[in-house]
Symmetry: C3
Subunit: 307 residues, 3 copies
């Protein structure tokens, strides 16, 4: 039995296989409408995350399966002091597969150790959120037709942004990927990403603070939120935040086939005037997230691919 706890749990080959399945699902949705008939997904959300939870639920329902679970800790047994280990053992009696979101790092790992059913980490604190990474990979592959030979700009909070770190870790496995890391000094990628991942593997990258200057060379621009709380003082925040808001003027500087991704929800870091630009891919990304979760559920449940 297999779980998905970290974005790198799947090898490059396995990831490619998963993305190919997701892509077939996208183009032949009806074919998959009953492959999980009678199967049950448990969504165990110890902290609310509507987007992720509903994406999983939509995925399971589109496969013909059904869903049960909870959407916040206060409506769960956790309130009675039950351990994650005991909860997943109980859930193993109720469902065939579980997607778990928990504020504490390592919770999904603990769950997987006591589970009788496959566990998908749907986010454990600031730690890992592997289905977001798979979603990002599928979006890039679908829009650009490849995962190699790309210049990827990552913009905003690169210090605390979990999705950014996971995406870097996932993309360095493909040949000839360059990174342009765009952030204020205060929010640069952590040392271990710069040294242990990028430098150690000889990956080409640069760190810049000016989005306008960086945007023309990008194939992908991955935007993230710059949170006020991350700054030491209000003045720094006010001074910096506008440079990292993507608008029409900035989009005019970009290539015609550069796509904009964002893990969502956005607050104001992408102006709504960009939404109608055909290169704005962040809502399509949500759709790819459903397909990739469908493929993942099928893979972990070892469901036969229909012919």
């Amino acid at each position: 039995m297999r779980h998905l706890l970290n974005p790198l749990d799947f090898s490059v080959e396995e990831t490619n296989e998963l993305l190919t399945l997701a892509s077939d699902i996208e183009h032949n949705l009806k074919k998959y409408a009953h492959v999980c008939d009678g199967k049950k997904l448990a969504t165990l959300f110890y902290e609310p995350s509507t987007r992720t939870r509903l994406s999983f639920e939509s995925a399971m329902l589109s496969l013909g399966g059904s869903v049960l679970g909870f959407s916040s800790a206060n409506s769960s047994s956790a309130a009675k002091g039950e351990s994650v280990a005991d909860t997943i053992r109980m859930i193993s009696c109720y469902a065939d597969i579980a997607a778990m979101r928990h504020p504490k790092e390592g919770s999904a790992l603990v769950a997987s150790m006591h589970s009788q059913i496959p566990v998908i980490n749907a986010g454990d604190g600031g730690h890992q959120h592997p289905t977001q990474t798979l979603t990002d990979l599928m979006t890039i592959r679908s829009l650009k037709g490849r995962l190699d030979n790309l210049t990827i700009g990552l913009c905003g909070d690169l210090k605390f942004g979990r999705t950014v770190h996971s995406l870097i870790n996932a993309m360095v496995r493909y040949p000839n990927v360059r990174f342009v890391l765009i952030s204020p000094d205060e929010l640069k990628v952590p040392e271990y990403i710069r040294e242990d991942v990028l430098r150690a593997k000889g990956i080409e990258f640069k760190e810049v603070s000016n989005l306008d200057a960086a945007i023309p060379e990008l194939d992908i621009l991955y935007m993230t939120r710059v949170q006020k709380e991350r700054f030491f003082n209000e003045e720094d925040y006010i001074r910096l935040k506008d440079s990292y808001i993507l608008d029409k003027a900035k989009m005019d500087l970009a290539k015609e086939d550069m796509y904009v991704l964002h893990p969502l929800p956005r607050v104001n870091e992408i102006s709504t005037e960009v939404d109608d630009d055909p290169r704005a891919a962040y809502f399509r990304q949500a759709q790819y997230g459903v397909y990739v979760r469908m493929a993942l559920i099928m893979t972990l449940l070892e469901v036969e691919k229909p012919c």
Copy 2:
């Protein structure tokens, strides 16, 4: 693609068609058990409303579809500052149709402008609640066999009662409908209903304060709650509230074929001793609400009527 935002979005002809479909559903429920197989309804309830939410969910499940969503804002992305526009774009990737309840007027309209799927307004603040109005219409038509030639009593809080205003607006479209507006002076219908709707269209109506005196001539008595908070002082409330409690004694004054409706939940404005009276139709109304929502979902999804 079509949405339902306001009770008058459907013409009289379209409304009649919808009610006819709802009535066929009522009498041939099994025939419709699979017409929405594989379709998903998203219930987006930014404020709790068990009755409305479960009515929608029951409707979709009875059509063979499935349901996902959230039942209060604190378990939604709204807590992270996401706009309704962005949420509905995400939900468009997850579901085939959405029912949305939101405390802010106009929210459903905003959602519909950015949605890729039909949006049903399940209540936006004190503004509109069109499926309640459709439910009321179906109840009246089913019980009385017609929507014209009726004397309709509306009793209680006619000033703030959203359902009352919508019902008046909907019923004035049918020939020879008379209204008896029964309320304390403090809670009479607003000026725009009296002048712009009733007087402007030459509709026969009277405003009275005595339920006992008014009840004998009614074909339909639509009760609503008189909320304490609406009164300037406690004495007025205590003085008035009892006159607007429907009990057995008052029912004895009514016609044998007068039906009592109430949007529910009731608190004490209808005595439980009335519940067993065959003219008490407020629980049947809840049942009609499911059928009419089934018909609405089918209509907006453009699902073929089964033969």
Copy 3:
């Protein structure tokens, strides 16, 4: 139409029939995958209980039915002051069967009196929780092959423990069942259990305070939580609690075919080192709980047993 409000609502014969059905479900799960197609279960949880709610939902989904409801009072109409009687009348329009959890004793009874659909009491205050008792019975019968000729140890808080009282009441109906009641003096079974149930029916039992001394003669050990709040002072709690923690050393004193049950969630009254002991049956108990609820839903809905 029939409800399940109290553990003794079913006669011994009816209970045996239900357990036999549950056992057939366990061994032929696929046969039952569609017996409730098109049926809807409403889970009405006025207070959260993830374990019980998800067990019911899993049961209904495994029968091919679907589920709607609420998981806490603040997302229900109760917040608007609606009575349980009115809520169940509404729910009768939305679903085919209801499972209700309510903090107030007698709520399920009130609901059943106004319901048009079968009501299952999923816990009403400290009062009754009949599906827990049925789960316990099925677990014992499945593991020991019988419900008679057993020595049953009940350990922990026997004074306030609802499940313990219900299990005693249920087990005294079977021949030659002996009880060993293991608790601190402060938490002995209430007078009415000792006198009106055990003594009045001539049932063999003893009350002891030492788990180590009692464990060797048991066929079943039913553990419960000892809650700190139950003690008059902290010293008593600290002095006593350790004697009632089941660990490997205590398990070494037990028979090879003695099974340990626990209604869950546990906090620390069973050491996790016991979990791998083949006699630890508390997680299997959760699985039996699903089968017995499947059998119960089928029985109350009068669904034909498939051949």
